[in-house]
Amino acid sequence: MASVVSLKNVNKFFGPAERPTTIALKDINLEIQPREFISLIGPSGCGKSTLLRTIGDLVEPSSGEVLVNGKPAHQARINREYGMVFQAPVLFEWRTVLKNVELPLEIMGVPKAERIRRGREMLRLVELQHFERHYPWQLSGGMQQRVAIARALAFRPELLLMDEPFGALDEITRERMNAELLRIWHETQTTVVFVTHSIPEAVFLSTRVVVMSARPGRITEIIPIDLPYPRNVETRESPRFFELVTLVREALRKSEEMREELELR
C-alpha cells in the first residue's frame, strides 16, 4: 500500500547553512500508512510541531524529501489534501459556527447550497448541530476545538494534521475529546498525524506512537499500540494501557538520557 506520508532523511536547520544555530529536525525517516493514527510525542523543543508543519508544507525542510500521497508536500498543499487543526481553535470571530466550518469550502468555490449541506453534516459529526448560528465566543473551549475539527474535515481530506489540539483543555474535557476524535477517525477513515505531549493521550489514540528527543530533534523510537477497538473508558483502565504508557514513558526518559550523554561528551 502506498504511504500517505513519506519522510526521507528530513533535516531542518535554523540559522546559516554552514553553521546552523538550531537543529530542529535531524535525519527523520517515517512512513505513515492509510488509516493510521500517528502521535508525535516528545519534550518541548524536540521539533514535533516543526515536523508536522513540514508535512503540511507550512515549514520547508532544509534537506530531505517529504511526500504526501506520493506527491511533494508543496503540491499536496496546493491540492488541499490535508486538513489542519492547531492548538488554538483559530476560529474567525466574525463568522458563525456554520460559516466557520464552511470557510475552506468557500475558498475552494463549492456552491452555497452544497457548502451549507456539508457544513451541517460536519457539525452533526462533532455533535454541534444545534449551535450553527452561534458565534465562536459563545462556545466553550472544547466546543470551539470541535468546530475547528469540523472545519478541518469539511472538504474530506484524507489526511488530518493536528498540533496539540487539546493541549489547552482540562483533563476531563480532553479525555472526552479523545473519545470523540477516535469515533470521528473511525467514521471518516482519515489518516491522522497528532502532536501531543500527553503520554496517555498518545497511547489512547494511536496506532503507533513516535517518540522524539530534543536538540537535535530526531525520532528515537516508534511504539506500536495494540490496544483493541473500540477504545473507551475501560481501555484507559486496562493493564495493557498502563503497560504501554510505561513503555512510552521509558522511551521518552531513555531518549532524554541519551541526549544528556551526548551533550556531556
Binding site: M84, V90, W94, I107, M108
Partner: protein, 258 residues
C-alpha cells in the same frame, strides 16, 4: 447578560440630564450670573427659538463641510491603508510619517487652507477636515489589516489561498472594529475641524462664523444656542456611526455586551 426594562436603562441618564439643567437654571438665577459668563438654559432656549433659521442655515453649511471632508479623508485613509496592506514596503515607508503627522495639531493649518482655497470657499473647510480625518483613519485601518492572529494566516496558507483571498476573508473583517473606532474618532474630529476652521474665516452662514460674531456682539444667548446645536450635531454624528457599527459588525458589538 442581564435583562433590564427601558425605564431602568434610560431612566437614570434622563433624570441626570434634567437635574443638571434644573441646577444650572437655579444657580444662574440664584447668584444672578451675568449673561456673558453663562446664560440660563431658558434664556438659551428662547434665543434658539428666536434664531432657528439662522442657526439651521449655518449648521447646514458646517455639516456639509464636515461630511464631505470626512468622506474624503476617511475614504482616502482606507484606500491608502489597503494599498499598504498589499505592498509592505509602502507601509514601512509611510507609517512613521503617518504616525508623526497624526500627532501634529493639523487645525493649525486652517489659516493656510483658507489662504489656499479662499476662506469663503467650502473647499478650504473640506480640505482641513479631510486632512484631520485622514491620519487616524489610515493608521487604525493599517493596524486592523496587519494585526491578525498569525495562526489565521497559517490556516489560510494550509488552504493554499491567494493574497487577495487572505485580504478579503481575514484582513478586512479583522480591520472592521478598528475601522469603526476610527470612524467614531473622526466623526467628532470632522465637526471640530469644520467649526474651528470657520473661526479663522468663512461665510456668514456657518456655525463657526455665527458663534464668533454673536459672541463679539455680546449676544451670548445666541452664541450658546449655536454651541448647543453643534454639540447635538456631534452626538448625532457619533450615534449614526454606532448604528452603522451595530449593523456591520454584530459579532463585535455582542462581545462588548458581555
Amino acid at each position: 447578560m442581564s435583562r433590564t426594562s427601558p425605564l431602568e436603562r434610560y431612566g437614570p441618564p434622563i433624570a441626570v440630564f434634567f437635574l443638571v439643567i434644573a441646577l444650572w437654571e437655579l444657580l444662574v438665577r440664584a447668584f444672578n450670573v451675568q449673561q456673558f459668563l453663562l446664560p440660563a438654559p431658558t434664556v438659551i432656549a428662547e434665543a434658539f427659538f428666536r434664531t432657528t433659521t439662522n442657526i439651521f442655515n449655518s449648521a447646514a453649511y458646517t455639516i456639509r463641510s464636515a461630511v464631505f471632508g470626512f468622506g474624503l479623508g476617511a475614504g482616502a485613509g482606507i484606500l491608502v491603508a489597503l494599498i499598504t496592506a498589499r505592498w509592505t514596503t509602502v507601509r514601512e515607508g509611510l507609517m512613521p510619517f503617518a504616525i508623526a503627522l497624526n500627532s501634529v495639531p493639523i487645525i493649525a493649518f486652517a489659516p493656510i487652507m483658507n489662504n489656499w482655497f479662499g476662506s469663503t470657499n467650502p473647499l478650504s473647510k473640506i480640505a482641513i477636515v479631510a486632512v484631520i480625518t485622514f491620519f487616524p483613519m489610515m493608521i487604525n485601518m493599517v493596524r486592523g489589516l496587519t494585526l491578525v492572529e498569525p495562526a489565521k494566516i497559517e490556516l489560510m496558507r494550509s488552504y493554499a489561498t491567494t493574497p487577495l483571498q487572505v485580504l478579503i476573508k481575514v484582513r478586512i473583517p479583522n480591520a472592521l472594529p478598528y475601522l469603526f473606532n476610527a470612524l467614531k474618532v473622526c466623526s467628532t474630529l470632522s465637526l471640530i475641524g469644520a467649526i474651528v476652521g470657520e473661526y479663522f474665516g468663512g461665510p456668514r452662514d456657518s456655525l463657526g462664523v455665527y458663534i464668533l460674531q454673536e459672541a463679539q456682539l455680546f449676544r451670548f444667548d445666541n452664541a450658546w444656542a449655536a454651541i448647543i446645536i453643534s454639540a447635538l450635531l456631534g452626538i448625532a454624528f457619533y450615534l449614526v456611526i454606532i448604528g452603522l457599527e451595530r449593523i456591520a459588525i454584530p459579532w463585535h458589538a455582542s462581545i462588548d455586551k458581555q
